[in-house]
Amino acid sequence: MIDDFYKYNPYELDRSDKNQLLTNELVELTEFHNNRCPEYANFLEAVNYKKNSVNSVEDIPFFPVRLFKEYDLLSVKREDIFKVMTSSGTTGQSVSKIYVDKETAMIQQKVMIRILSDYWGKKRLPMIIVDTPAVLKDRQMFTARGAAILGLQVAAREMVYVLNDDMSLNNEKLDAFFEKYPDQPFIIFGFTFMVWKHFYQELKRNNHKYDMNKAWLMTGGGWKKLEADAVSREKFKNDINEICGIKHFIDHYGMVEQTGCIYAECEYGHLHASIFSDVIIRDFKDFSVCSHGRQGIIQVVSALPHSYPGHSLLTEDEGIVLGEDDCPCGRKGKYVKIIGRMQNAELRGCSDTYADKYRRT
């Protein structure tokens, strides 16, 4: 039961306690989806899954994430689905379709907020959204970007969208925000490329000075495009700190197939797996588990997906487990580095596909 997880803080459990809690839940979820999703049952049969041979999280079969692009995969009745989330994709790319019922949506929301509360506290804070309000209106754009903003609403005292529909910075809204919430903690949220291009660079160009030293800048959506422009994560932080005075940066990694279980960055720049999920790095050739420090294909497991069989997925991303239970920030569990999409895998980070569109216009 997911309720068992709520008894703990999101980064409280060490390796053996977490493994026990998560393995039990994942075995149950595997049975649940086996009984309800015929395509998933076929997959389990093909990989010769035996419930009794599962001793740890690594023993749960990993389902290729690409299958969500090719099939409609559901473990609940179609009439119980209340939203279909899609991965971002530029024209011509196929998109994942993730079927979410009310229960799964509520769990996703709750877990994301629990994870973030561990960083900026339980109090709801005012939030600057580096995006246009149209991101929620336009169903075409309503993919991961819109979903992330909606998910954050619960943690916000008020959300202020600071971009106009043409992506220009709305200075009046920024002025009003700082007048209303002077000298107090707040959150800035946006996708990396948009924060850099439409927020930071504009503020720098306009020479507008706002006091942002109590802000938490939360970003997501990928680094490929910025790295192609020679903007490393370090440069991103240093330059933004210099112009805006921001000290707290929380980047995060997540995927629409496992919404809610985000991997958030600590003050040492490490992305942490919470008790609700885990990362296993697999060898490129034989899919065996890589030791810490070795690069491979990322498998993610999550205790959240109930309406679709997404609790153990082999992604198309590469990464490294940097360590476990010993990050200087004090959070237990694994901490990871995401390298990015594998060669030949489609370009698909949310920020990246946006940047791709931006380039072409």
Binding site: F82, M106, Q109, K110, I113, R124, L150, Q153, V154, A155
Partner: protein, 79 residues
């Protein structure tokens, strides 16, 4: 206004429902009570009672009845 009247009014005004629809009303049951409508409703409830709700409570407030339970249990609001 009694607490119940204040509570009802928050629903009626933000979700554009009639008083008769309130009992048994659940999140996502009607078009106006989607995730955006939810936060408008929360803001109205917070204004009506001059409270600041916790994130967990906002997520748990999944029906008209559940909201009353949460307000009584965690915010000392009696109905």
């Amino acid at each position: 206004m009694t607490n119940l009247e204040k509570y009802n009014q928050a629903f009626i005004e933000t979700l554009e429902v009639a008083k008769e629809q309130l009992e048994g009303l659940e999140y996502q049951q009607i078009a106006n009570w989607d995730s955006v409508g939810h936060m408008t409703l929360i803001a109205a409830i917070e204004d009506a009672f001059d409270i600041m709700m916790d994130t967990d409570d906002i997520i748990d407030l999944s029906s008209y009845e559940k909201g009353k339970e949460i307000l009584s249990a965690n915010y000392d609001i009696e109905f």
